[in-house]
Amino acid sequence: MLNRNFDVLIVGSGHGGAQTAIALRQSGFGGTIAIVSAEDDLPYERPPLSKDYLSGDRPFERILIRPATFWRDKDIAMLLGRRVVSVDPQAHVAALSDNSPLFYRTLVWAAGGVARRLACTGGDLAGVHSVRTRADVDRLMRELDRVTRVVVVGGGYIGLEAAAILTQLGKRVTLLEAAPRVLARVAGEPLSRFYEEEHRARGVDLRVGVEVACLEGRDGAVRRVRLADGQAIDCEMVIVGIGIAPAVAPLLAAGAAGSDGVDVDEYCRTSLPDILAVGDCAAHVNTFAGGKRIRLESVQNANDQAAVAARSIVGALRPYDAAPWFWSNQYDLRLQTVGLSAGHDATVIRGDMASRSFSVVYLKNRRVVALDCVNSTKDYAQGRALVAARAAVPPDQLADTSRPLKEFAAEAAI
């Protein structure tokens, strides 16, 4: 019979949920722990879904965060294929979709988000896919043999990575971005233009500033994407990478503060008693965003907030103050990012973009706030200290590749 009482109940089996459980056990926490997840799979790494899992280079066993034996050995119960639909914070009860209750002392909400779907006509046709879960990608991969033309809607990292893999698999790919440039939400214009050109050079029909009017199908399957200007693009598959909606409705319905996500303090505590939140859905005040309340959709944020949440649960409070980092693989380009570039007021290019190894340094009020490093791991590794110190370095010096970034980090520390 299903045990229904847990000292710590974790909702969500992504990086944040899994790492919260791992960190609790590592700290010696001896109480009962369960992870409840709408997904059917044990915790797995999400980034490969748009990279080497999609390409077939890494099978599922190789993206598991831990093997099945680990969760058994650590006595972490896995309640998979179950969705929490409501929470009663006073009674300390989370209700599943069949109305059955789970009782907790502490609830950790790590439910992440749900891939946004196209709201237009045809958005629900067969052949229209998201890239958020293993099930999404398995469905997509099962159809690939019969597909020659793919339209990717959305020029964020997921869309661009999927476009790169599908192009390498021999598909004819069209990528549509509504904004005037790809990566508009997360990177500066030089990086956007660089990636647009790389994709076009590989044969992707990449279009920016275009709006999808509807999807047209035959026998229930997508056959065409119709643009607002009337143009049509024939295809057998559509991949929608237009972001996620944070999965926090049960918490907000229970009275938790929040709007885009659920608000947490620096210890990952929501406004509800004994309920914490971590990862993509946790709206937190981030010092690397200039003290703004943001959500960060990244492995770094999920893992580091999980560590903070675990400490909060065992009473060893430590505030969240980790420098954001991120990576993206497209073709033979490895992008590594440290810091947050949103809100920057100047950029400096280090190196020659044509050489396909360079960095974009982002400044705000003359201080380094982020770096996007393409095939430039040295700058990524050394630039971290500049971001952490919010170092003030003159732009002409930053552009001088004969000077390694660690020189500036040493100066900034003085």
């Binding site: 190789r62 093997p67 490895r334 990524y380 050394q382």
Partner: protein, 111 residues
């Protein structure tokens, strides 16, 4: 020595100093082998993309010559660690081979 017979082994010392002998698997990275054996610590957070250095290990000097050399990116990431030593490597970048049986690594402290 039984290094060339039976299941190849990897000897791992974790951050708290506990030593474990685990089964190796030819073709997997040392990071994957350690993770599959159930690492209790935050480990390999980036899944092997040479971005986080949480799989930083110190390789027993006796094996330092036996494993392929360090690549530029790996070297650059390790440069950012304050625990870098003579035989520091990223476990995600070392491909385990049967002939490496008996390889000993110690997981570096977290940065």
């Amino acid at each position: 020595m039984s290094a060339l017979t039976g299941t190849p082994k990897l000897v791992v010392t974790d951050r708290s100093g506990v030593e474990r002998t685990i089964d190796g698997e030819d073709g997997l990275s040392v990071m994957e082998i350690i993770r599959n054996a159930g690492a209790e610590e935050p480990f390999a957070l980036c899944g092997g993309s040479c971005s986080c250095a949480t799989c930083h290990v110190h390789v027993d000097p006796a094996f330092a010559q036996a494993i392929p050399g360090i690549a530029g990116d790996e070297n650059d990431v390790l440069d950012g660690s304050s625990h870098r030593g003579e035989t520091s490597r990223l476990a995600c970048q070392i491909v385990f081979r049967d002939e490496l049986s008996g390889l000993r690594v110690r997981i570096a402290p977290a940065d």
